[in-house]
Symmetry: C2
Subunit: 344 residues, 2 copies
DNA sequence: ATGAAAGCGCTAACAT
DNA sequence: ATGTTAGCGCTTTCAT
């Protein structure tokens, strides 16, 4: 064991140690000995020298030369959010399997930051990009696609037919969730919505409406409240709805954070779940089963979301052409627990 | 708006467009016009050309030339785990602020994978590395430090004095948690431990022992069970402990996943929290307050953990020398809720 | 079967 | 005040 500081070894030094030229060393080490008819003696001595010197090729130099960085970019609104973290993980694992590394960035739910990060990733010559777009603004993303950079949108797609996107089947999920409430006999159902203009939110509202119409009921916009997917919005919306419309017997929260807010609001208003109020939430959660009232939910298959996005991206890079199908929908799953009861 | 595919613009083309040499273009764009006494007319024309062509310098080429990649590596046992995701986020945000990008990898709780990823990151010439080590094995990490690569360990440090690490004050936290149980009057307390040989686990056990000894009670290893930080281990350990030692009146779970397992086991055994069994857990959770029995916990300041790690790493890179203090402890916070009651 | 040399896009030392 | 040149470490064409 040497105690000296190991300086970085270059191919040149390996070549010198093996007594060959850099080109021969390069060929020997990159498995092209056969193709270049390099004698196996030479090949071995190069390999041995590399081994001894602990040579590790500079991916930087290789990338510059080959114009292939083996780098993927990922832009998420909030890396700490378990939902996005799960997506990050799937992409990371899939990338690693194919020799790609992942540059992870956090747009902080801000469209301008998102655009800036995308530019920065491009400056690093990423070969592909996964974005969970923050908002409605998608000019910068469209322009990426025009530049032929393989791009996949996850979770919050746009209805832009030019962009490849992977989302849950929000509409079907919301419809099924709503059906649960309706089948239990609820007639006046409050909806705690998320960020209004996003595609998931719009799709979920459409699902709610469809379920209502299935039953011959009419969609009443005054039963919709909320402005975001967080706890605060859920709390405020539930508080308003339950106060102004005391005839409400059930709530559909569009995120589990919204549901948490609803729980807090309900408790403050003295309404117990499920006896005095039924509740269902979009997105399942490990703790959902252990709540005072085990929470029924519409569960997104977030791992699948990430996996499909990664697969689509890597395939697009490999083949050089975008997939024919542009929009991929991942089914959601209804998880029935005890937070829904017939109205009193 | 042109419809053509924007090919990548190089400095050479900008220089040509501005009618100057590449070096002048380089200097004009990197704010060195002053230092090289470039006429502001020239500077402006270069800037304008760059703007018009939408020039974005290749960080790849710049990195190769300058031997500074502005790249940080992060290795986490499981990116999808909210605890690690929070750390990833803090590092990402801090890095971004100083112009660094982050290569994120997932070791899948596997030491060999961890070592492989570290090598791979080195091949990309990262300037610094944050690792949440998987296990006990730390040869590859020590060797990194010897190679003078700035390195910071988070969460699961080693007691190796050569390595810089940031961890919660596990010992104090466990001691305080235990005190809560003891002060409520519990005498026989089961411990649901995590991965036994890890530093956090050992430190927490030491804290438990200290709290016991404070009260003149003795530490009974047969009251310790479990082998991991996940739900399954918590469940199995709680099941065994509560079955074999029915005199146990309280449980200390070393992770919130362990606590979840305990909840399931207790429910199966017909013991209600907090009436028939008290419970406290390491790690708080947004849902903890909304459980059937709002869960008391010892909360780690995970954001602070990530922030301090990032700061230490960036400082180390900036100054070129490791910090004098090697081990940083982040205080934990006791969160009192309703899951602890005096024994029946 | 192997070496020499060019070049990926950039920066900086060395000319003028 | 600006141009020329070398070189970061690698791969590959072209030569022998």
């Amino acid at each position: 064991m040497s105690k000296s500081v190991n300086k970085t070894i270059t191919l040149k030094e390996v070549a010198a140690a093996a007594g060959v030229s850099v080109s021969t060393a390069s060929r020997a080490l990159s498995g092209k000995a056969e193709a270049y008819r390099i004698s196996s003696a030479t090949e071995q001595s190069v390999r041995k020298a590399a081994e001894k010197l602990q040579f590790s090729p500079s991916l930087l130099a290789r990338s510059l030369r080959s114009q292939q960085t083996k780098l993927l970019g990922v832009v998420l609104p909030n890396v700490a959010n378990p939902f996005f973290a799960a997506i990050a993980r799937e992409i990371t694992l899939a990338a690693e399997e194919e020799g790609y590394s992942v540059l992870l960035t956090d747009s902080q739910e801000n469209s301008e930051t998102e655009a800036r990060l995308v530019d920065q990733l491009q400056a690093r010559q990423i070969e592909g990009l996964v974005v969970c777009p923050v908002g409605i603004e998608n000019r910068h993303l469209k322009s990426l696609a025009k530049q032929k950079l393989p791009l996949v949108l996850v979770d919050r797609g746009f209805d832009d037919p030019a962009l490849v996107s992977v989302t849950s089947d929000h509409r079907a999920g919301a419809r099924e969730g709503m059906q649960q409430l309706l089948e239990a006999g609820h007639k006046t159902i409050g909806v705690l919505q998320g960020l209004p203009k996003t595609l998931p939110n719009r799709e979920r509202l459409a699902g709610v409406q469809a379920a209502l119409e299935d039953q011959g009921l009419k969609y009443d916009p005054s039963l919709i409240a909320g402005h975001n997917f967080d706890e605060a919005s859920g709390y405020a919306a539930a508080k308003i709805l339950l106060t102004e419309r005391p005839e409400i017997t059930a709530l559909f929260a569009f995120s589990n954070q919204n549901a948490l807010g609803a729980l807090r609001a309900a408790s403050e208003l003295g309404r117990t779940i499920p006896d005095d109020l039924s509740l269902i939430a979009f997105d399942d959660h490990p703790f959902a089963a252990y709540l005072a009232a085990p929470l029924s939910s519409v569960s997104q298959d977030v791992n699948q979301l990430g996996r499909v996005a990664a697969r689509l991206l890597l395939e697009q890079i490999r083949t050089g052409t975008p997939p024919e199908q542009k929009h991929y929908q991942i089914p959601v799953q209804l998880i029935q627990r005890a937070s829904i009861q017939p109205p009193a």
